[in-house]
């Protein structure tokens, strides 16, 4: 992106939206990446020549996608209310989730992904459990499986220690300093920490494009933190990447183009592969913002006794 004046930066030159350029200096655009690469790395006297721009563009976009999945930490956040369907439709640019929280009483409660499933597809069956088909030979399916219906109606029990727990509200007897219960507790010698969480749970139906929640989420606000692939809904002019990764992207593109070209010596490919990996490490370190002041704050708690 071209350099802009302070007035353009802070107030977008008097145009709307005012915040158009805020923070833009952190990023380098896809257009700049492709142009810079063609200028600096492609030519008759360079390692790469006779390469089409669409080839370069493809690898540039792939690099941006790969970085967006983890290294860049470009987290998008979306808040939606979950109604009685207990369903949160995934955003259109969703690739993977980072954290899902419930916003209640002014506090964000991080939710746990259910280790079991809480949703299922189902087929219609007759009394003999034979699957039913329509006249075209396709399987007949109900709108919701029993599992889903029970979850939505709140009758499905949970192994988590929340409101749907099978033991929630059950009475017991305290005799001679010991609790007794009238339901099987088996060999429960301790707490299963994996399921010892009072918050609601969720499970993601990836193909279905929804997050299914346990029944105690109905009417609550859910905050989804997720990563996208940085493709900005296909608008190439909006695609950008943090400048800390600019050099890595060039070396990544150089490597993948060289490694897919015929007749390139293996030592050249290896050199570019090592360069790419080293630059990725550098960029990750830079982005992690590990600096003395921050470390100091963490280390101050090292001698604190936790009782």
């Amino acid at each position: 992106m071209a350099y802009i004046t302070d007035y353009q930066y802070y107030e977008n030159g008097g145009l709307n939206p005012e915040d158009e350029n805020w923070g833009s200096y952190q990023y380098v655009s896809l257009n700049d990446i492709v142009n810079n690469f063609i200028v600096m790395y492609v030519g008759n006297d360079k390692l790469i020549n006779n390469v089409e721009r669409y080839n370069i563009l493809f690898h540039a976009k792939r690099a941006v996608q790969e970085l967006n999945y983890d290294s860049l930490k470009e987290i998008k956040i979306l808040e939606l209310q979950v109604c009685d369907t207990l369903r949160f439709v995934l955003p259109p640019d969703y690739v993977n989730w980072v954290r899902i929280s419930m916003y209640k009483n002014g506090t964000l409660f991080p939710l746990t992904e259910n280790i079991q499933t809480n949703w299922s597809n189902a087929y219609l069956q007759d009394n003999n459990c034979r699957i039913l088909f329509d006249q075209d030979g396709n399987i007949l399916k109900p709108e919701n499986s029993t599992l889903d219906i029970d979850r939505i109606t709140g009758s499905k029990k949970s192994i988590y220690l929340n409101q749907q727990s099978a033991y929630n509200g059950q009475e017991g007897y305290f005799y001679n300093g010991i609790w007794y219960f009238e339901y099987p507790v088996g060999a429960r010698y301790g707490l299963n920490t994996e399921t010892a969480n009072a918050n609601p749970t969720f499970k993601i139906n990836k193909k279905g494009g929804v997050i299914n929640f346990s029944s105690d989420v109905s009417g609550e606000l859910i905050v989804l933190e997720y990563v996208s692939d940085g493709m900005e809904n296909g608008d190439d002019s909006e695609i950008s990447v943090n400048k800390l990764f600019e050099e890595f992207i060039y070396s990544y593109m150089k490597y993948v183009i060289l490694s897919s070209k015929y007749g390139i010596q293996e030592y050249i490919i290896n050199r570019s592969r090592k360069e790419k990996s080293a630059l990725l490490r550098n960029a990750k370190l830079r982005l992690s913002n590990i600096h003395p002041g921050r470390l100091l704050m963490n280390l101050r708690g090292q001698n604190k006794w936790i009782k």
Partner: protein, 332 residues
């Protein structure tokens, strides 16, 4: 630059004309001259490639020994820029005189369009309905440096391009080229383009465009457009290009930079009563060689070969060939 065509003709006649046997008529000379020029012109591109290989092998020097640089200079002297004319869709006609399309650029930002009106001449462009200063609300003012393309289909200067030198008034511009306006400029339409946001339209092969359009990562967009080269359409006999995305349809917004063929050399003359044609440089159809003076020897050698064949003088042809080979050997 001083005319070299007359020197070439005089030298050719001097070598070939033995006992008045080898006289070459001006008409024949012009034919041979065209052949020779085209031959040498095309050879520049092969030489360029050959010297690139040598440069990469580090057998080519820099500064005065930079052969590639001097070859590029000659090739670039045939560079031309023209707006491409379309027929309302994303199909654009290529210029008639192109040898090699180097680049096709897309100018996404149109400042204004209009039609030239009476009073325009040379580099002065008048459009009585224009609003070049942007005085009418909502219109964008024209500024010096903007590109203007002649978007009239057909005509001598169809597709011609120039830059805005100054905005003289709300209806008058001064532009950088006088190869823009024809005498009958009544129907000449133009487009003025902002030079910001220009993007190159990439050439892709016919067998790739389907796959490129099918995948979201590579499908041509306004930022990274593409074109495929096509054949003649039902209107024009020259080559055409189809530009993607299909929304690029505005006349004048697609501009090509290409290497054109050299103009046909034409040794013009005024016939004297004695019969000997006298060179006439002022004739309207006069055209000198467009190759540099350093190619004069090559041109003469080539013409001698053709002339030798014409007058059945084998020694003349052989002389031309030997000279040609010696020259090639020296340059390689």
């Amino acid at each position: 630059m001083a005319s070299i065509i007359n020197t070439v003709r005089a030298t050719v006649l001097s070598i070939a004309n033995k006992n008045n046997y080898g006289y070459i008529t001006p008409n024949d000379f012009n034919l041979y001259a065209k052949q020779a020029q085209l031959d040498i012109f095309e050879d520049y591109f092969y030489q360029y490639n050959s010297w690139i290989v040598k440069q990469n092998a580090r057998v080519s020097g820099s500064n005065y020994a930079n052969i590639v640089k001097s070859l590029v200079e000659v090739i670039d002297s045939f560079s031309s820029t023209k707006g491409l004319i379309n027929t309302g869709i994303n199909l654009f006609d290529l210029p008639d005189d192109y040898y090699l399309i180097d680049k096709v650029n897309y100018y996404p930002n149109i400042t204004t369009t209009g039609t030239i009106t009476f009073g325009s001449i040379g580099t002065t462009l008048i459009d009585s309905a224009a609003n070049f200063l942007g005085l009418v609300g909502g219109s964008i003012p024209v500024k010096p440096g903007m590109l203007i393309t002649n978007t009239s289909a057909g005509g001598l200067y169809s597709g011609a391009s120039a830059f805005v030198v100054s905005v003289d008034s709300n209806t008058q511009l001064t532009i950088s080229s006088n190869d823009f306006l024809t005498g009958s400029f009544g129907d000449t339409s133009y487009t003025i383009l902002n030079t910001k946001g220009i993007t190159e339209v990439e050439r892709v092969s016919q067998n790739k465009i389907f796959y490129l359009n099918s995948t979201p990562l590579t499908s041509p967009g306004l930022l990274f457009p593409a074109y495929v080269l096509g054949g003649a359409n039902n209107i024009n006999t020259g080559n055409t290009i189809t530009v993607y995305p299909e929304s690029i349809v505005n006349a004048g917004t697609v501009v090509s930079q290409y290497i054109r063929y050299p103009k046909d050399p034409n040794w013009t003359y005024a016939t004297l009563a004695a019969g000997e044609p006298l060179f006439d440089e002022s004739a309207a159809d006069y055209q000198d060689f467009e190759l540099p003076l350093s190619d004069q020897v090559n041109i003469i050698n080539k013409i001698l070969q053709y002339a030798g064949m014409s007058i059945r003088e084998v020694t003349l042809t052989q002389f031309g060939q030997v000279q040609d080979q010696l020259d090639d050997k020296q340059q390689s």
